[in-house]
Amino acid sequence: MSDFNPRLSLGPIPYYWPLEQVDAFYAMVAASPVDIVYLGETVCSKRNLVRYEDWLAIAARLREAGKEVVLSTLALLEAESELKRLRAICGQPDYLVEANDMGAVQLLRGRPFVVGHSINIYNDRTLALLAADGCTRWVLPVELTRETLADMQQRRPEGIETEVFAYGRLPLAYSARCFTARARHLGKDDCRDACVDYPDGLVVDTQDDNRFLALNGIQTQSARTMNLLPDFADLRELRVDVMRISPQSEHMDEVIDVFEQVRSGAMEPAASAELLKPLMPTGPCNGYWHGAAGMDALNAA
């Protein structure tokens, strides 16, 4: 038990960053202690500053640096062009693929794949069926609690790895509508790459100035950053195989460093809370983990 330690993963970049920024980001990641890197566009198929070929080039560099590379797929599939891209990703032989929609699961059946947090695995019967189809790792849906994870861990099929979204602005919803374009009085079909201007999303405040949500194109995120690192002892005790960090545009290297220090035992989990707080765009939350409202910041968060 004591020698068990979760690995660290870096989720796909949820935002729209230009190629130079993405390249610089993954150059930093290549030299970081992160074990697994998820790559690719998962939010909007109109984002094309980083092309599929660019992602494959980044994947090759990260693999060379010793990282496990997983190609992530779009969460909301509407157009045939999106299915075409999906088939290319699911059909390539070089990397494991993360399915973020059941359409991707259908294309990946029969070979190993990861199931991302936008697919609803809320019980062990669901997990068992997907495992029989080839799922080798699943990510806990972000609204589920520590108690539910404990139940799932007791019942998970042999050989299945569990990953938990441990740090980042929470993915809360997907829509046909682009809210970033709407904020600029533009339609989705004429969005003029509005998302590029918001490298961590566009914050939505309530009328009494509570930083509440972050608009990220067709995705809505929490303004607050979910942080489970102070609950590291739980994650370890529950034998969570992988802790996921979701990218943000600033301080990512520092965040990864704090995770690594806690994982390696160099830092007490509780001590990480105060260190991470100033690195977040808005501030922390961890309510989901404790069975409360997701936006709540309880205990050591």
Binding site: L77, T126, E143, L172, A183, V204, N210
Partner: protein, 331 residues
Amino acid sequence: MELVCPAGNLPSLKAAVDNGADAVYTGFRDDTNARHFAGLNFTPKKLAEGIRYAKSKGKRVFIALNTYPRPDGFERWQRAVDQAADLDVDALICADIGVLDYAARHQPTLNLHLSVQGSATNYEALRFYHEHFGIKRAVLPRVLSMAQVQHVIEHSPVELEVFGFGSLCVMVEGRCILSSYATGQSPNTFGACSPASHVEWIETDHGLDTRLGGVLIQRHPKGENVGYPTLCKGTYKAGGNTYHAIEDPTSLNTMELLPALVEAGVSALKIEGRQRSPVYVQQVTRVWREALDAYTRDPAGFAPRPEWTAELAKVSEGAQTTLGPYSRPWQ
């Protein structure tokens, strides 16, 4: 095209049947369905009575079992599947893969429909549910444009049902947890969005504030009509503007698309609103029955009549309607 109408109780079920619904969808009185509200829905006994009534008039009844059980509650969903089979319902509308798997293996004679909460927006996803569970129909999330609906139908292994009228979910159903972010309870886990138990109405010097889970959703000046504080219809500040950042308080109304929906091969048209009153069910069902009949009599000459539009506007949220995602500019 089948007209599928909502019923939150027996009077609504009868109102739907009497006013021209081809099928009625219902739910049990607990968190196994996505309209888990106090005083709403059916005990198995009441549902048996409703099913007898509908069948005596040649109409079909569906049961929605479309929330996502966690391991500790799974038996309740199993029991609901078995009860639905005992009641001999015409279809069970499910979202969760585990529930679908249980139903397909243990009650193989039940017709299974994939709920809108199952979030299947493309035909590859539909193939998954068809190949694994033999679903007969799927309800499409409210995210596809008219052209995309048609494309999915052309490649789908199962018949498709779409939303025609009612409150508009702006987000992909089954993948929206805005509600639990503010309250701890979501459609997936609890069967309710923006639950009433977490709503506060607070009088201020300026009028009335509505809050959900403590979050300010709407600030109403004195005298303004006060709507229910649904998270995605609130007024917020973003990029220097104060506006409905996600969506206005509005309802979906696809009446003018009716010919396009029929020609695209849509099998069934769904009316939202199991939480609404029997009067709502009666009015909306009657209007849509008239519209569908008018279309059948004279497809080329079909146009929404002003009195239908007026009637539907009366029962719409904010008295406004929209084509929603079916129309590209809305997106």
